[in-house]
């Protein structure tokens, strides 16, 4: 379990690095396009590149987002529930999340087979969509495994786990 957790932690760091690199690349890509346009030479396919990199940004950071307790939840009733119940609710939430992300990984992977068969690609520079669907599937699967491990950990030691914070986005 500890070894598996270490492997997962390493993979989460890697996926976050992918997401972060994609974000920097998107900024550079659009900036190059804007500056190029000023000189009458916009970057061909800039929008295609941004769209596909966006997939890496969204799902690259998903596992770390969960690890940091970043998913918004309604905590108004938390003080009313016993500590043990809160710990179990956290474990069940993580399990539900694991099932959802496993579902995303599987359905998007299945969809990528169709994209590959039909040669689906972006409009301008024909980036194959299947590659990015694979990346999405892999990141979603990693998130699912991470959430499953958290769920097991919480279920095994429910009373000792402190509730995780909720991140606010607005």
């Amino acid at each position: 379990m500890t070894l598996l957790q270490k492997v997962v932690d390493g993979l989460i760091r890697l996926s976050t690095a992918f997401g972060a690199a994609a974000l920097v690349l998107v900024a550079l890509n659009i900036l190059t396009d804007v500056i190029g346009r000023l000189f009458g030479a916009p970057l061909a396919g800039a929008q295609d590149i941004s769209q596909m990199l966006m997939v890496l940004i969204v799902f690259g950071g998903m596992a770390l987002c969960d690890r940091h307790g970043g998913h918004v939840s309604m905590d108004v009733f938390e003080p009313w529930f016993p500590k043990r119940m809160n710990a179990w609710l956290d474990a069940i939430s993580a399990l539900i999340g694991a099932v959802i992300f496993a579902g995303i990984a599987w359905t998007v992977y299945e969809s990528s087979k169709l994209s590959l068969m039909l040669n689906l690609a972006t409009n301008i520079i024909q980036l194959p969509k299947a590659y990015f669907q694979w990346a999405l599937s892999a990141f979603a699967a990693l998130t699912a495994v991470s959430m499953l491990l958290r769920s097991i950990r919480l279920a095994l030691a429910p009373a000792d786990e402190a509730p995780e914070h909720t991140e606010e986005v607005l």
């Binding site: 972060a20 900024a27 966006m54 799902f59 987002c65 939840s73 609710l89 999340g97 607005l170």
Partner: protein, 434 residues
Amino acid sequence: MSPELTGALGLVALVILLVLRVPVAFSMFAVGFVGVWSLGSLSSATSLLASETFTLSSSAELVVVPLFILMGNIATVTGLSRKLYDAAYAIVGQVRGGLASATVVGCGGFAALCGSSVASALTMGKVSLAEMERFSYSPRLSTGSVAAGGTLGILIPPSTGFVVYAILTQQSIGRLFLAGVLPGILLSLLFILLITIVCTFRPSMGPAGPSTTMSEKVGALVGALPIILIILITIGGIYGGIFSPVEAAAVGAALVILSGLISRTLSLGDFWIAVRDSVTTTATVMLILIAAHLLNPFLALSHIPQLVGDFLTGLDVGPYGVLALILLCYIVLGCFLEGFAMLVLTMPIFFPVITQLGFDPIWFGVLVVLSLEMGLISPPVGVNCFIVKSVAPNVKLSDVFVGVLPFWAMMVVALVLLIMFPQIALFLPDSMIG
């Protein structure tokens, strides 16, 4: 089982999951998926899950989200908020309540760099609360001005709230950004008016700060010049039709990074933290959006929005009565639900009613975002109040909530003014985009 009954059971299940603290996105995924499965088929539910996930994740319009979040995060780590506050302080700090007014101005300025209310309240709170304490400001006034001023983050563009509303209702992000400018300025002025009135009648609540010399004023303004320029270039670029919102976000992020590098306030470690936090916050926002796109088809299949629409339009209260009821719902829900979640949960139900009644969707977007702002300072889940409390541990939470009450009342005034004069919101988008 009829689709309507299935829909009602789905909504009950959603509420139960939310009460049991299952994250909003997961609850919506679960109910949406099972709902589409029960009213359609398993294959339609799995197809929807795959297609909506990839389509939303690769949306060209939504690239604006991580870029504006990055811009705000870099602005935070490089201390740009401090310079904004210093400039506002130099101008209005020496009048009664001036520090609180400077906080509101600073929050408004920071809001133009960052689409997050929480980030605005947190960063400006760190800068201004200590100063106000030093000059013996009433804790209620100081914390109230920070918590309320921070909410300007989701009204003044760039705003995450507007981006989410635009995606959910298929409206133009650019038009919504434009529509938020004048209401944002109006609300800032109302806050300042309130502070001035309070400090005129009770001077002890906000004594005047020390006066600054002209050279100090000029120095503070010069210090804030890069930020003002960045705001003018990015937001002005959208208004001038030079940039799309996505391009403005990329240019803004690059300029903030450049400013940090030139002023040597941005280290590699800070940069990594800002980028990493931007990626994880984007994940939070996007997952809820994807989940909303799974829940919406279920609600449509169950005819729930149509039923609610028929009920509301059937009430003998007129269109503005229905609008008032909907806004009242937002204000009440804002006391219990996180604003962003409230937006995605209610929009599929209320938006068709609004369009059916013939109201302008851009104007309604501004009203909704203003209502979300009120939720950010409404007890018991007024997030901005908790944020301010975390920055000012010596102030009682009850004082923070009492302190925001007059500001909350000013938001009601702004809401009424916007309903009476829709042009406050629509003038800029109508005149600049058409």
